[in-house]
Amino acid sequence: MTDNNHNSDSSCGFSETLVAVLYNEANEQESAEFRHHLAKCGACSEEFAAFGMMTTAVSDWRETEFAPLLTPNIVLLSEFEINAVKSSGEVALFDGLRRFLSLPQFGWQMAATFGALSIFMLLGFALIANWRSSSEKLVVETPPFASGVSAPSLNSNSESNSPLENVNVAEIDQQTKVTNNRIAKPVAVSTRKSGKAPKQVGQTIVIETPKRQSSIRKQTPQVEDIGILPDETEDTSPRLTDLLDEIEPSV
């Protein structure tokens, strides 16, 4: 490393010493040798000065932009969370549980309110459906009787011991079936003539089911309006007076 080795592209072999002196990390011997060389070599002096400007510029950049920045707060996950991350398939579960359990109080209140409202609505729907079905049954159980004729009890379990009522039940029931068949037929014929499937016309399915009576009652006009009531001349049901005569023959 002599002055004769000066080259415009080199630092006379003092490159490492140059940067060490530049950053004050050279020992005393290295520093002395280098400064002695600088006194004799203009190129190295110029290069040393230019490098000084470079480091000053970079330091200025650091001081201006980086130095005011706060050191980021490094957040390390707990061992539990890290194990959860490592285990595939558990990440979503644990993360979801953690988020769910960390709901604020307001969130819990909203969830409880929503749950209660849902339950009440379901109960309401159930009650309404139950009420409708029970009201339909009441309609079905009432046979269509002509005006002026009192409807005897159709309840076979009636406490009445009158044999008259029991006989009436069977015959009236039969009549009811006949009547209902007469009511049903127009509906059945009309739907079939239209070519539509029964289920496509209102509640025509009811033809096949016990509920047809209530639906027919809803869809079709009242029996009295249709006038399908059996003609009095064709009424073959026993009269009350006749029955009474049988029981208590005129003396």
Partner: protein, 190 residues
């Protein structure tokens, strides 16, 4: 006292389920790693994310840490990889305009219209930033470790696992390239 423990000793303690030990490692290196990431990424948010990912990755892979390497080397390697990954991502998205600009145009100041005061300083810093960013990655890293992290030559050599003389020669080369690039701009500004 944990502050007297070496980095390697702290890693051993951390592997023994001592979380405070790794916390001490974080406290020792978070600022330096942050400085390196900022110097490479030039954006505070990106640098913060890179630092977080660096230590998070290190914590997760503690078991994979080989005792023959130094902790500083290990952390710097992770940090540089994080930064390079983000730089590639940013380059793909065209968010970074620094690498795409013509280097010659960026170093010329408008003749007769030098900004003054803070604007002048900003212009100067921007010029230096671009010059450093244009360096090859190995040279840029040494410049950043020396200027931003303020590490000694020996610490840089330990972190990069290269000889001390290699660190000094690379720094010399980096400064020479910076000089060549910045010679196009009026040095009087600097």
């Amino acid at each position: 006292m944990r502050r007297e423990e070496t980095d390697e000793k702290l890693v051993e303690m951390a592997l023994a389920n001592d979380r405070e030990a790794f916390g001490e490692i974080v406290r020792r290196w978070e600022r330096k790693i942050f400085a390196l990431c900022y110097g490479m990424l030039h954006r505070e948010e990106d640098a913060r994310d890179a630092v977080q990912e660096t230590f998070f990755s290190a914590y997760r892979n503690l078991k994979n840490f080989r005792g023959e390497a130094k902790v500083s080397s290990w952390l710097h390697r992770i940090a540089v990889n994080q930064c390079l990954t983000r730089m590639r991502r940013l380059k793909t998205k065209n968010e970074s305009a620094l690498e795409d600009e013509d280097e010659n145009d960026s170093f010329f100041a408008a003749a007769g219209s030098l900004p003054s005061g803070a604007a002048e300083q900003k212009e100067r810093i921007e010029t230096v930033r671009r010059a450093v960013n244009a360096l090859p990655n190995d040279l840029k890293q040494i410049v950043l470790m020396k200027e931003f992290e303020e590490m000694t030559f020996q610490e840089i050599a330990d972190a990069l696992e290269i000889p001390l003389s290699t660190v000094k020669s690379r720094l010399y080369t980096a400064l020479k390239q910076l000089k060549m690039r910045l010679e196009k701009t009026p040095l009087e500004v600097i």
